[in-house]
């Protein structure tokens, strides 16, 4: 299992902190730091909203460890706030002046699955995508989700994501789950530990 976690304060890969937001940069600048660390040359990154940017970077981190390019990897993501920050921006523009202020580039991101579209474009993935709204990470029965999606001999890896970005927070968790790990040693404990690790360390 390969895992990446991005929060307001840390960028973590497989349990190891790669970078800390020591200067308490606002989210947009913090994500730009991570982008630079990944040595990416992908100008489209800058046009994305916070949800797409943070999701993109977490997946890029995983990809640099195990290539996702053109693989048949289902993307199963979820969060509780949908595309909140893009919605908020679009609403601000629109309800100020219905005729003048609407930005098409903002509207494009007012759907939580656009981030998965960006990943698919970047890594040329034509696989299945689904996006769920759940109240919290804990509520999700990842075991069932993996069962449903591994029932197909073509699939050797699944990319799971909890991609929650609300008014203040970045709460991104991306996990690449290989089929043989699932078949032989699945337990949801390591899955949850990779999500909660950050909070344990905070104490």
């Amino acid at each position: 299992m390969i895992n990446c976690r991005i929060t307001n304060s840390k960028w973590i890969f497989n349990g190891n902190t790669l970078l800390e937001n020591v200067d308490h940069l606002p989210r947009s600048l913090w994500l730009k730091e991570i982008y630079k660390q990944l040595s990416l040359n992908y100008p489209k990154f800058y046009k994305m909203d916070l949800l797409s940017k943070s999701t993109f970077l977490a997946v890029e981190t995983v990809h640099q460890s195990k290539s996702l390019y053109q693989e048949n990897i289902p993307l199963i993501f979820a969060n509780s706030s949908g595309s909140y920050t893009a919605d908020e921006q679009h609403a601000k523009n629109l309800y100020q002046d219905e005729d003048k202020q609407v930005s098409p580039a903002t509207f494009v991101y007012t759907l939580p699955n656009i981030a998965m579209g960006e990943l698919s474009i970047r890594h040329q993935l034509h696989s299945k995508n689904v996006f769920f709204i759940f109240d919290s990470f804990d509520e999700i029965n990842w075991e069932e989700i993996l069962k449903i999606n591994f029932q197909n001999s073509d699939v050797n890896n699944i990319l799971l994501g909890w991609t929650e970005v609300d008014t203040e927070n970045l709460d991104i968790w991306i996990s690449l789950i290989p089929k043989d790990w699932w078949m032989n040693s699945f337990s949801d404990i390591p899955l949850k530990e990779t999500y909660y690790n950050v909070y344990k360390l905070k104490k």
Binding site: L94, Y95, V102, P104, V108, M116, G117, I121, H126, D135
Partner: protein
Amino acid sequence: MKKTEKILDKINLDILLKKYVAVTGMGCISAIGRNIQENWDSLSSNKSGIGPIDILDTQHKNLLVAEIKLENSDLRTLCNLGNEDLYTRTELLSVHAIQELMGKVHLTQEMLADTAFINSTTVGGMDTTEKYYHEFLESEENRHFIPHNSTGYGSDLVANILGINGFRTTISTACSSAANAIMLGARMIQDGLVDRVIVGGVDSLSKFTVNGFNSLRIYSDQYCKPFDENRNGLNLGEAAAYLLLESENSLKETQNTPIAYVAGYGNANDAFHQTASSDDGNGSYLAMKKALDIAQIQANEIDYINAHGTATPNNDLSESRSMIRLFGAAENIPVFSSTKAFTGHTLAAAGAIEAVFSILAIQNEAIFANLNFKNPIEDTGLIPHVTFKDKSPLKYVLSNSLGFGGNCSALIFSKNSN
């Protein structure tokens, strides 16, 4: 639990697919009817629900919409939800459609408590948030609506109101949302995770979406013309539609009669652009192909296609090319039509309302019209079916729903379980 017990059987796909997924009931509300019967009446008499805006409070009065001509207060009355303004329009439409569904099938309170619910929406409570957007800061009066904004909140509320207490979730993948909800429901039944599930989707009209699509320059100020050479954009609509899916086990308990089956499904990403479809319709092609594989049928066994057909210059060309590719040649494509010239593009609900129409087609041996069509797209020469036709026995119907984010879904409904 021992590790060995956790290792799931190497269930191979063939055994899995022998479990059928029966559709035993439906409920819907759209601009062409408040229930299944009214929708059928409009479809069979070529009566569109698109027209000028009456209820939505927007400056863009030149745009045409498929609006349900019922105020929220009317919907509350019809749903027996009292006089207080406590529900968003999205929630009210859901309740209305599911109440119709529940009235048509045998489901006791106990059975409902054991029924899963997979809803889908993109608007969520935004229809109400935008009404009180400025007011929220100034007065407490409507602040109770604030939590309703979230796409998941409404699903929970609706399930609670109706006593649907099994597994619940909300899918939000743009215009393919409800198709994905149906797909997930079918998978969960086939995997033995649930026996009975209400699946579908809803979206109400909002300034948020009307202005958004208008800013993308794909909103037509004329009656939309799916698959026509001179099409210039979509008209938005609102709707709610739900199906009850049951396993063989569940049927033994409920004794409901199947009206159709979910025979196949597929989802694939187009991987081209956030909102535009690829020139060759790759995502759509892959989704349809997967659906055929699951249904274990050949392309030439499809009798009718309810296309996504939004009437945008981009979608209709891309989708046409994907159909040509799937069927090998233009002349091999079965009868197809887009019903969005009736209902408008209902966003998240599209996959569900069109599933209802696909099943109505099977039940009634009918093909629905692709209204407003005059000239085929020059590039492809494809001609959709332009009028209502009955006495058309249908075994397999394919329904496409292609969402932003490259999220392409295809569903195949069948008359019989094999």
